[in-house]
């Protein structure tokens, strides 16, 4: 076999190997440039400030001074996240960091419920002075249920108790 043929084959083989790598990277091009990162909270960021001022006027004043507690120094036994366990949003979790969470069909809610039986401003969940989480119905059409009872006043939420809004069930977990 002539020297020239072997040289051509040697370089050709390297070229083919690199071609494979390039083709493979082309296949996953969409991972590098076409990735869609959805942040369900960020779209409503601009709507937040007004919402907060309104809440601070109406809600108990302790919320204003309360900083979100750092992840490591939370009270023992306190819930750290809100989990949607039933309904179309099943699996969505929201970290509880001292903020008020609003639920409803309105676009500026923290959790936008995609549920015909929910009102646009249905309920809210907020921490009181001791860090206990409270759920309050905001005068919804079909009501908010904690376990089996329909809420009439702001009620503390036990860990893991199901809160039912229309077809959606949420609960607080550690």
């Amino acid at each position: 076999m002539s020297e020239l043929t072997l040289t051509v084959m040697r370089l050709g083989f390297l070229a083919v190997l690199w071609l494979f790598v390039i083709v493979a990277v082309q296949v996953i091009r969409s991972d590098l440039f076409g990735t869609r990162v959805t942040q369900r909270g960020s779209r409503r960021q601009d709507a937040r400030p007004q919402q907060n001022t309104r809440q601070q006027a109406a809600a108990p004043p302790q919320q204003r001074g309360q900083q979100p507690p750092a992840g490591g120094r939370q009270r023992r036994g306190a819930p750290t996240k809100l989990v949607v366990s039933e309904g179309t949003l099943t699996g969505t979790t929201v970290a509880l960091q001292g903020q008020t969470i609003t639920l409803g069909r309105a676009h500026d809610s923290t959790i936008v419920l995609d549920d015909d039986y929910a009102s646009s401003r249905h309920a809210r969940i907020y921490p009181d002075r001791d860090g206990q989480w409270i759920v309050e119905d905001l005068g919804s059409t079909n009501g908010t249920y904690l376990d089996r009872t329909r809420l009439t006043t702001a009620t503390p939420i036990p860990l893991g108790a199901p809160i039912r809004i229309g077809k959606t069930v949420i609960e607080l977990r550690k």
Binding site: T93, G98, D116, A118, N142
Partner: protein, 479 residues
């Protein structure tokens, strides 16, 4: 007020099933080794090698079976994993076959064992068993979350697998490292399988315990220091990996297991302190064992000064280790940038384990830096697809498992390639898919199978989002 950021989802825009892309890439991945085979034959004998058609057909058949199984039972899985593994396996077969043709290696074998048997046919058989394992994983494991049930059983199984080589009568001491067992004429390296089982245990364990490990900690100098009792698991794994190092004389395996645990701990808890602590513990352990165990000591000497230790070597074992290391370095050096061409190098001067531990030196010499980079990129792409799978996985167990498996795979590449190139002391591990060895090929095909299963679950299309809820009126529940 903090914005809710914990609801991030990552998904690809394109159509989820990429099976035809996979088929095209697979055809490419089979064609390249056939070309390489032709290349070797022409360079050594000056004619088209006789076994080319049979070899090409065999590889194509294996790849085809694997593809059909994926098409049927994991239709949404990642399109790259299978072609990449097939290409590496095929190239491994060619390189082993090329070393089988070497007159030097045949002569050495005749002198030592009075016989010579080519390794390529048995490697072909191991590849077939590996593909069978891959098919078996896809058929039997319908949902990777089933593995979660076997968390603690996995722990016991992996410990048994790791300790098997120490059982008298069953374990075999092969050239200093006790990582083999002999069962009915077959040598098996249980460590390769322990890697998979251990990943299952780590993911199941960390999924449950990660909150305790991540949150119960004190902040000290910018690091989160865990509580004393949470240190238990990492100390146990550290002790076990040190025991492996001491009793089995295998630096690679112990590094692999400890490293995999640290990687998974970091991924599960997001605490940098685990990595810092893990590195410190690994360095401390390696330093102590490296200065006492003689087998490890000779490897370290060969790493620090391979050429100098040829003269200062105190015993035959150390001399062999140094000799291998010098040959490997010369081999990489003479390859240069573009290499000498397949079948035209002298990497067979590495007389011992040329086609297993040191197969990467053949790549370095005959394909040069350009070829070495391709192989590292191929491995890198497999790891990338694995980590991508972990990102896309919707359940924490699958996330951790995919991350652990690809982390272990990456670590193994680093340990082997780094050892061969003289970056770290040489360890007796195999280059996945490339090196000769049944256990390695079979276990790594199983690993690819598990990754494909997780990626199939992760990439399954999610239900379409519903239209805007404000468009409709609130309905009233009528009793």
């Amino acid at each position: 007020m903090s914005v809710v950021t914990n609801t991030t989802t990552i998904g690809a825009i394109e159509a989820p099933s990429r099976r035809n892309t996979e088929l095209a890439l697979l055809a490419f991945a089979v064609a390249i080794p056939v070309f390489a085979y032709l290349n070797v034959g022409l360079a050594i004998d000056g004619k088209v090698p006789a076994g080319m058609a049979g070899y090409g057909l065999g590889l194509a058949l294996l790849a085809g079976v694997a593809h059909l199984v994926v098409r049927k039972w994991a239709p949404y899985s990642d399109p790259l994993l299978l072609p990449l593994a097939t290409l590496l396996n095929g190239m491994g077969l060619v390189l082993i076959w090329r070393l089988d043709q070497s007159p030097r290696l045949i002569a050495t074998s005749m002198r030592l064992y009075k016989s010579f048997s080519p390794d390529a046919p048995s490697q072909m058989m191991y590849s077939a068993v590996g593909i069978a394992m891959f098919v078996g994983v896809l058929l039997l494991l319908k949902d990777h979350r089933v593995l979660q049930r076997y968390t603690y059983i996995s722990m016991v199984v992996s410990l048994v697998l790791l300790l098997l080589p120490l059982v008298p009568g069953l374990g075999a001491d092969v050239f200093g490292a006790k990582i083999w067992i002999r069962v009915g004429g077959f040598s098996i390296q249980p460590g390769e399988f322990a890697k998979l089982v251990l990943a299952v245990f780590f993911s199941g364990y960390l999924m449950v315990k990660r909150d305790a490990l991540a949150l119960a900690s004190r902040r000290f100098m910018g690091l989160y220091l865990p509580r004393g009792r949470d240190l238990g698991p990492i100390l146990t794994i550290w002790a076990v990996s040190l025991l492996i190092l001491v009793f089995e004389n295998d630096l690679g395996t112990s590094l692999l297991f400890f490293g995999m645990f640290v990687i998974m701990l970091y991924v599960a808890t997001e605490r940098t302190s685990w990595i810092v602590m893990g590195l410190l513990m690994a360095v401390a352990g390696a330093a102590v064992v490296g200065s006492t165990a003689s087998h490890v000591k000779s490897r370290v000497a060969a790493w620090l000064d391979p050429f100098g230790c040829l003269e200062t070597a105190t015993d035959q074992n150390m001399l062999n280790a140094c000799d291998q290391m010098t040959q490997v370095l010369m081999s990489f050096g003479s390859g240069g940038i573009l290499g000498t061409g397949l079948g035209q190098g002298n990497s067979d001067l590495i007389s011992f384990a040329a086609n297993s531990d040191f197969i990467f030196a053949t790549v370095g010499e005959e394909l040069g830096l350009a070829g070495v980079m391709v192989f590292l990129l191929l491995y890198g792409l497999i790891v990338e697809r694995g980590i991508r799978t972990a990102l896309a996985a919707r359940d924490p167990f699958g996330k951790l498992l995919a991350m652990g498996l690809s982390g272990a795979f990456a670590l193994q590449i680093f340990v082997v390639a780094g050892g061969v190139m003289g970056l770290i002391p040489l360890t007796g591990m195999t280059m996945p898919f490339l090196a000769y060895g049944g256990s390695s090929v079979i276990a790594n095909w199983a690993l690819i199978g598990i990754l494909i299963r997780i990626s199939d679950t992760a990439r399954r299309p999610a239900p379409a989002p519903a239209p805007s809820p404000d468009a409709e009126m609130t309905q009233v529940v009528r009793p």
